[in-house]
């Protein structure tokens, strides 16, 4: 790699260039190929992040820093560390798949649709790269606009309600964060630099205050119980690509926020509030699983299962030990892969049958065996079957939770049981049983494009499941450092 080549900026703004290119296109097919080209190029360009990443240090890498708004000491500063690097790869991969899965599903306003996907990609990568709080906030909020339009224009029947609800929930959460950001600026010595702000030890009252301000934003995004109610609507009404991006990346941003801001900047408050956070996580796991069991809508069911799965992520994070945090982080990636894949599967079948009611399905196993091959393996991964990626993640989360607190870890295990319940029951209703005559004519096998869309995720499911040490090796040092930093040990070492 050429020294000083601004890889992160290229990754962030290449999709924006793609938007400009799209605007010059006229035919829908050209638009599709251009979008595919740009997302593929983006994915290829993001691979050096893995190969050139130095796993031995917690320091930020690929750093770029320029003055942006000097009068407020705002910088354009980008960088990645072990906590963020994998998410960028996840984003670039899922963006490619979002383009391919929408190939035939989107026939109206094709150009605008792919422009929105690319805009989302810019915002998401920007979020994971930003090392300046102001910059982070800009990307964080900017994400709302394309997502709002994605749900609202290309969504299904109840899309307007879902889109508006999504924006208002997220906005309400993030404005509280804005107050926190400004207060942090004055408290932390008039800077927005995330690294510098993390070095400070703030007074405990301020830490509490800041924790709640950030919590409002991140909890809505994750989403944690009880502010999860936007999620089922948004996921269900969004077009397939929108659901994949929502489940795959957007939900992770909330949890990423906890790791990047809440833990290092309010360590004492986080420790004090550990138990309430763990309880909220377990409530999300159990409650989410029960609500999932009751769903009659295929897509809504998976949407609710995300609430339960993200409960594991936050449980891991708020165990505040090495296993828990590693597990939480890995589980974020896993959930992005597995739930993203299941949403892709749902999108493919919905494209054929135009129904999401579970009752309308049945006998897919006989009608579309290749499709069911993929769906089965992804379902197993969602359950956390040994050999798949979620098994490792959930195992680490639970061992972290047991180390931290038995009382919350034991109920969490029931969450896994319930998870197996709803996935297997769903599998029975959709794949087994008799074929519903009403949709029989529509059940065609998936084609080459769709198989190619699913294969990368399937490979990842087993690769992470069998070689968990590889992804974990990226995050270990950064997490160790984060924990030391919370204990106040690392302060000297950093300077």
């Amino acid at each position: 790699m050429v020294e000083g080549y601004p890889l992160l900026s290229v990754l962030t703004f290449l999709p924006l260039l793609g938007v400009v290119a799209l605007l010059l296109m006229s035919s829908a097919q050209a638009v599709r190929y251009t979008a595919l080209l740009f997302t593929l190029l983006e994915f290829v360009l993001s691979i050096p992040l893995l190969t050139d990443f130095d796993k031995a240090t917690h320091r930020f890498q690929f750093v770029e820093a320029y003055q942006w708004i000097p009068s407020l000491n705002i910088h354009y500063k980008m960088g990645v560390d072990g906590i963020s690097v994998l998410f960028i790869l996840l984003t670039t991969l899922l963006s490619v798949l979002s383009v391919t899965v929408s190939w035939r599903a989107i026939v109206q306003k094709v150009k605008e649709f792919y422009a929105m996907i690319l805009l989302m990609e810019t915002a998401m990568i920007g979020i994971f790269c930003a090392m300046d709080l102001f910059l982070f906030y800009i990307f964080w909020e900017a994400m709302l606009i394309p997502m709002f339009l994605l749900i609202g224009i290309w969504g299904s029947s109840n899309r307007v309600y879902a889109a508006v609800k999504f924006v208002l929930f997220t906005l309400a959460g993030s404005v509280l964060m804005l107050i926190g950001v400004i207060a942090l600026y004055f408290q932390g010595g008039k800077t927005f630099d995330i690294q510098q702000l993390s070095l400070m030890r703030y007074p405990i009252e301020f830490q509490y205050w800041l924790f709640f301000a950030f919590f409002a934003a991140f909890a809505v995004k994750v989403p944690m119980f009880p502010v999860h109610t936007w999620l089922p609507d948004a996921h269900t009404e969004a077009p397939t690509a929108g659901s994949v991006i929502l489940a795959g990346v957007l939900l992770k941003i909330g949890a990423y926020g906890f790791l990047r801001f809440s833990l290092p900047m309010c360590p004492d408050a986080t420790r004090e509030l550990m138990l309430p956070m763990q309880v909220l996580s377990v409530v999300a796991i159990i409650y989410g699983a029960f609500v999932t069991l009751m769903q009659t809508d295929f897509k809504r069911l998976i949407a609710y299962s995300s609430v339960s799965h993200m409960g594991f992520v936050t449980l891991g994070i708020f165990s505040l030990n090495q296993q828990g945090l590693e597990g939480g982080l890995l589980q974020m990636i896993n959930h992005g892969i597995v739930t993203g894949a299941i949403f892709l599967c749902i999108g493919m079948i919905y494209e054929r049958t135009h129904t999401r009611q579970i009752e309308d399905y049945g006998g897919l196993g006989r009608a579309a065996p290749v499709y069911v091959f993929f769906y089965t393996l992804f379902s197993l991964a969602a359950i956390g079957f040994p050999g798949t990626n979620s098994f490792i993640g959930e195992f680490l989360v639970l061992s972290g939770a047991f180390k931290s607190n038995y009382a919350v870890a034991i109920p969490a295990i029931f969450g896994i049981l319930l998870g197996t319940g709803y996935m297997v029951w769903l599998y029975y209703r959709v794949v087994l049983r008799d074929i519903n005559p009403a949709i029989k004519g529509h059940l065609q096998e998936i084609g080459g494009r769709e198989i190619l869309t699913l294969i990368p995720l399937l490979l990842l499911v087993f690769y992470i499941g069998l070689q968990p040490a590889v992804p974990l090796s990226f995050v270990q040092v950064s997490i160790k450092h984060l924990l030391l930093q919370m204990d106040g040990v690392a302060l000297m070492g950093l300077r």
């Binding site: 708004i69 924006v167 208002l168 509280l176 400004i182």
Partner: protein
């Protein structure tokens, strides 16, 4: 006496006289507009180059802040002129006086921004207000416009009387009308404030809040904004508000800065009430002019948060806000003008299909008004909230931000109509001047959003 600080005002005044004497014989709208825009540009160039300083013993001050306010006024004038070019409600025969009134109002606003003595301040506010009354009632055969003009005039006079009472009371206490001298007197004074001092401060605060359209003195503005010709509404929702806020800022810091406890709670009340009422009443408006009127009330509320900060930081946040707001709001009005029956929210159904360009522009302007980055409206709000938090009014800032979430709802309603509704209404051709005005506004909103350091 060195009068070089007065150069921009004198130039603009001379240009107005020139316009007045030549324009009388000109019928063409294009030529008249070109003359006015030319005057605008010449004045702005003088504004940038003219030295700072004081004239008339400190009664007229040109400092960076007042010059930036004047720049905002000229941006507002230029954009308003641009969108008026083919506006049918203003008849060809009236166009000459319409432009003249706008220019005069702008001159008055420039004087307001620089006045540091209560008498010239009062006089220039009155000149500004008189021009606004006339502009509001300019559509002579439209009953709503007549009603609005009369209403505005009657209530505006009441506010002027209040302002005069305040000034008299302050004169009674301090024996001067010079803002700086009043400030020094009040600072030097020991013991509890004199009741007349209270009366003076509160009366001035109320009168200027009225002119800025702040709650609870806002009742006139929705009616006036709805009744006035749309271009006038666009002009008045920015210029006179900015001028009133600049006057408020000058008075609060220059004269009453010594004992903020007398007025700060009143100001907080006014600011919070303004944000609350403006946003809540805008929620269910189906008339876009009225919606934008209420939203402009709400925006004044945000700007007033900048007045809470005891520093230049707050005032410069207000100027930046006003500049960005000028682009956002007049841009939005340009879109309203470009749509047939554009006042009703249902006229925007399916706009994304019939006129994608205008729909995209409106989308950007509305998201900017809602304060969502990366557009400039976010930077504007960010600076104001930052100033308020810096001054220690975190809870007030929090309320402001929550109301701004509320505002996202009514802005999004329009986006929903434009983008999510698939009704196709007949497409109408948009005049080129409105396209230019909208594009300028959108460009400014984007550029200032990404690179606010161009200005601050």
């Amino acid at each position: 006496m060195d009068t070089s600080a007065l150069i921009p005002e004198m130039t603009f005044g001379a240009l107005i006289i020139l316009y007045f004497s030549i324009g009388l014989f000109i019928k063409g709208r294009y030529l008249l507009t070109a003359m006015a825009l030319g005057s605008c540009m010449i004045t702005v160039s003088f504004l940038i180059t003219a030295p700072y300083g004081q004239v008339f013993g400190g009664a007229f001050v040109a400092d960076p802040l007042s010059q930036s306010f004047k720049f905002v006024f000229h941006v507002c004038l230029a954009l308003s002129l641009l969108i008026s070019l083919r506006y049918g409600i203003i008849k060809d025969g009236q166009f000459f006086e319409y432009v003249l009134l706008m220019m005069l109002a702008t001159l008055a606003m420039m004087l307001v921004a620089s006045s540091r003595d209560l008498i010239p301040l009062f006089l220039s506010i009155e000149l500004m207000a008189l021009c606004s009354y006339l502009l509001t009632g300019l559509a002579r055969d439209d009953l709503r416009s007549n009603e609005a003009g009369l209403k505005y005039y009657l209530l505006g006079t009441l506010a002027s009387i209040t302002l005069l009472i305040g000034i008299s009371a302050l004169y009674l206490v301090t024996g001067t009308t010079d803002i700086k001298a009043i400030g020094e007197f009040l600072r030097a004074q020991s013991g509890a404030p004199n009741p007349y001092e209270y009366l003076g401060i509160i009366a001035v605060l109320i009168a200027l809040s009225f002119k800025a359209g702040a709650v609870p003195f806002h009742q006139w503005s929705p009616d006036v904004y709805e009744g006035a010709p749309t271009t006038v509404t666009a002009f008045m929702s920015v210029g006179p508000k900015a001028a009133s806020l600049s006057a408020l800022g000058a008075v609060l810091y220059g004269a009453f800065g010594g004992d903020p406890e007398v007025w700060v709670n009143t100001l907080i009340f006014i600011a919070v009430a303004t944000m609350a009422i403006g946003n809540i009443l805008a929620l269910r408006q189906d008339n876009l002019k009225r919606l934008l009127a209420y939203s402009s009330i709400a925006h004044v509320g945000y700007m007033m948060l900048g007045l809470l900060a005891p520093s230049q930081e707050g005032l410069s946040a207000i100027v930046l806000y006003m500049l960005i707001y000028a682009f956002m709001n007049i841009g939005a009005f340009a879109v309203v003008l470009s749509i047939q029956e554009g006042e009703g929210i249902n006229a925007y159904r399916g706009l994304a299909s019939t006129n994608p360009f205008m729909a995209l522009c409106m989308l950007i302007l509305l998201f900017s008004l809602a304060g969502i980055p990366p557009f400039a409206g976010f930077i504007a709000k960010f600076r104001v909230f930052m100033a308020a938090i810096h001054a220690g009014y975190t809870v007030v800032a929090l309320l402001g931000i929550l109301f701004s979430v509320l505002s996202a709802y009514y802005y999004l309603r329009i986006v929903v109509k434009m983008y999510f509704d698939t009704t196709e209404l007949p497409h109408s051709l948009v005049p080129i001047n409105l396209n230019i005005a909208t594009a300028t506004a959108v460009l400014a909103v984007c550029l200032l959003g990404i690179g606010p350091s161009l200005l601050i």
